[in-house]
């Protein structure tokens, strides 16, 4: 009886897992089969013919480039990583300041940052477009990076503030009586302890930039600055949609993000275990 219950339980888990993963699985399957098979009715779950045609097309192994996916990938990588590094650096300093120092208007500034986060990005797209066009940074990676940094900083400040708050302030105090300057105490003691939290904030910031569509669709116009989510639209013609190509580029988009998350998640989980103070 117990065994049957257990098996039933695992079947339920499996069913829910498949349910959740279905769209992802469908994208993966569709990336490796020709368009007609994707559109087949009733749905063809196991492809009759596997192909990497779309991948060879977009990465131009065959010499013919349908969509310059490699260029889009590079744009995405550069824009996402640079904006993440900048956002996390500023966010870390801001979060530390909010967690450790008292200054005038602290709560109001913090509230202001959070409210800035509440503004829907799309509502800023037109003003940003006009502004960027005027100062000549429309359709550049630089422009997109600025927007993503602005978008991510309040968020990273909020996250890292929480992580720094969890570290007892005695940690930095004891380091300072141990001969550290405030900066050394931060670097040697508080930063390593907040590391997992900062890593988490960085991942969130990276994924936010990596997946962002609304603003990038307005601010990027050509291959020069288009990111992967925008590049995906290249498969949308006036009368047809190349589903296979779109799924293939989606795979190109998903894989690095998943790999990155896998690499860092171990540190995220193992992170905040404090033995230094009596808990």
């Amino acid at each position: 009886m117990k065994k049957i219950k257990k098996i039933a339980f695992w079947f339920l888990v499996l069913f829910l897992l498949i349910l959740v993963c279905m769209p992802g699985i469908w994208i993966f399957i569709s990336a490796f089969r020709p368009n007609p098979e994707i559109l087949a009715k009733p749905a063809n779950w196991i492809p009759d013919r596997w192909t990497i045609y779309e991948f060879t097309q977009m990465f131009s192994i065959s010499g013919y480039v349908s969509v310059p996916a490699f260029k889009y990938l590079m744009n995405s990588v550069i824009i996402s990583s640079v904006s993440t590094v900048i956002a996390i650096t500023i966010g870390m300093m801001g979060g530390y300041a909010f967690a450790r120092y008292n200054f005038k208007g602290k709560n109001k500034i913090f509230l202001g940052l959070m409210l800035a986060r509440a503004v829907p990005g799309i509502s800023l797209s037109l003003p940003l477009f006009i502004l960027f066009a005027k100062i000549g940074i429309i359709n550049t990676s630089f422009g997109v990076i600025i927007v993503y940094v602005a978008m991510n900083v309040p968020f990273t400040i909020w996250l890292t503030d929480g992580f720094f708050r969890q570290i007892p302030k005695e940690m930095s105090e004891v380091a300072r009586t141990d001969g550290c300057t405030r900066l050394q105490a931060f670097w040697n003691v508080e930063l390593p302890l907040a590391g997992p939290g900062i890593g988490a904030a960085a991942i969130f910031a990276f994924l936010l930039s990596w997946n962002e569509y609304a603003l990038a669709s307005v601010l990027t116009r050509t291959v020069h600055s288009k990111t992967l989510p925008i590049g995906m639209m290249d498969y949308l013609d006036e009368f047809t949609i190349n589903w296979a190509g779109m799924c293939a580029i989606a795979v190109v988009m998903i894989v690095p993000a998943v790999i990155l998350t896998f690499i860092v998640q171990k540190h995220l989980v193992s992170g905040l275990t404090f033995g230094g103070v009596k808990g």
Partner: protein, 365 residues
């Protein structure tokens, strides 16, 4: 060699006064204990000496050097915190050597000094462990080791034993005392536990509301408290304080401690009671001796009273009764069986009683 001097030290948080005009000179090698209830300013004082708290006014000297403007790192003092504050990402060894590494001390030198501290504190087995793998007592020892390794001019302890259980606390208390004898350095120690203060200190400072109430050796503050606060704060159980009427009649002065219990005023106090009708009387529980027979000499007080409660503690029995509506505790050192409602004879050596002014609460000498 380093003495620590505080001159007119004041700390205010906005309008709230944490420490007020504190003057204090701590000679080299003294074990000084700051004791008082929470919020009395003792920890603030310690943190100002460490440089972790800015001072509002006044001066702090460590070894004849004015350190007001100096960073904590340049004051050469080591602090041990209540919650240990060990670096959780470093092993015991790394925790101990951290301050030397920051000071860019030679590697071999670091090793020798860490080894030395490890031996002093008996941490040999634990060197490679992380703080999370240590027990409370071990963590406390590592925290002390980290302070020792620096060879500071002064050690600052901020309630270091408060997080330990009772048994371990007693054990660590002894270790700290031994450590002081071994290291011969100035120690400033903050606690709210008067037993710790009494057992550890060369000199005790009792603080209240940012002011120093009394400074003296443990025996001094115990035997000669300057006011009611010190009298009740130092000693366990706290000193019994009674409001008494003074009755002068025919050149004789009597003290009424309860309905129909009148006692003769000791000769040496008579003059102090001029024009006073009420006074606080302080008697320590151990000076209120239950006796089986009236064996008094002339100077002793003697009275009988029914007890409300008896608590046997093994070595002694604590008797509770009421005088003038106030609960009084007496310690019986040679316990014999008593039961509630028994009328017990009490004897008081009048050389051991204290009188306090009813208005100022200061001791009447």
């Amino acid at each position: 060699m380093a003495n620590v001097d505080l001159k007119n030290l004041t700390k205010k948080y906005g309008e709230v006064i944490a420490v007020q005009n504190m003057d204090l000179s701590i000679p080299h090698n003294e074990f000084l204990v700051l004791v008082g209830p929470s919020g009395c300013g003792k920890s603030t004082t310690l943190r100002m000496i460490a440089g972790l708290e800015e001072i509002t006014s006044g001066e702090i000297y460590i070894g004849d050097q004015l350190v007001n403007e100096k960073d904590p790192k340049d004051r050469n003092v080591s602090m041990v915190f209540q919650n240990y504050a060990l670096y959780p990402h470093m092993t015991v060894e790394e925790n101990l050597g951290f301050s030397l590494k920051i000071a860019k001390v030679d590697k071999n030198e670091i090793e020798t000094r860490v080894k030395e501290a490890v031996q002093i504190l008996g941490l040999e087995e634990l060197q490679k462990r992380k703080p999370s793998q240590l027990s409370g007592g071990q963590r406390q020892r590592v925290a002390m080791g980290r302070a020792i390794v620096r060879r500071p001019d002064a050690f600052l302890f901020d309630e270091p034993l408060s997080n330990l259980d009772a048994k371990l606390r007693t054990q660590m208390r002894t270790e700290i005392k031994k450590l002081h004898q071994k290291l011969k350095t100035t120690i400033i120690y903050v606690t709210h536990d008067q037993v710790e203060a009494m057992t550890l200190a060369d000199r005790i400072i009792i603080m209240k509301d940012g002011y120093i109430e009394q400074i003296g050796s443990p025996i001094e503050v115990f035997n000669k408290p300057v006011n009611v606060f010190v009298a009740t704060f130092i000693g366990s159980p706290p000193m019994n304080i009674l409001t008494c009427d003074i009755i002068s009649k025919d050149q004789k002065v009597k003290i009424k401690i309860d309905n129909e219990i009148y006692l003769d005023c000791p000769e040496n106090f008579k003059d102090l009671f001029n024009n006073k009708s009420k006074v606080y009387l302080g008697i320590r529980a151990e000076d209120l001796k239950p006796v089986e027979k009236n064996t008094i000499d002339n100077n002793d007080w003697f009275f009988s009273k029914e007890i409300d409660l008896a608590e046997p503690l093994g070595t002694e029995t604590q008797l509770f009764f009421h005088l003038n509506g106030k609960e009084i505790i007496s310690r019986m050192y040679n316990p014999y069986p008593v039961s509630i409602g028994d009328k017990i004879n009490f004897q008081i050596d009048t050389s051991k009683i204290h009188f306090f002014d009813i208005d100022t609460e200061k001791t009447l000498f």
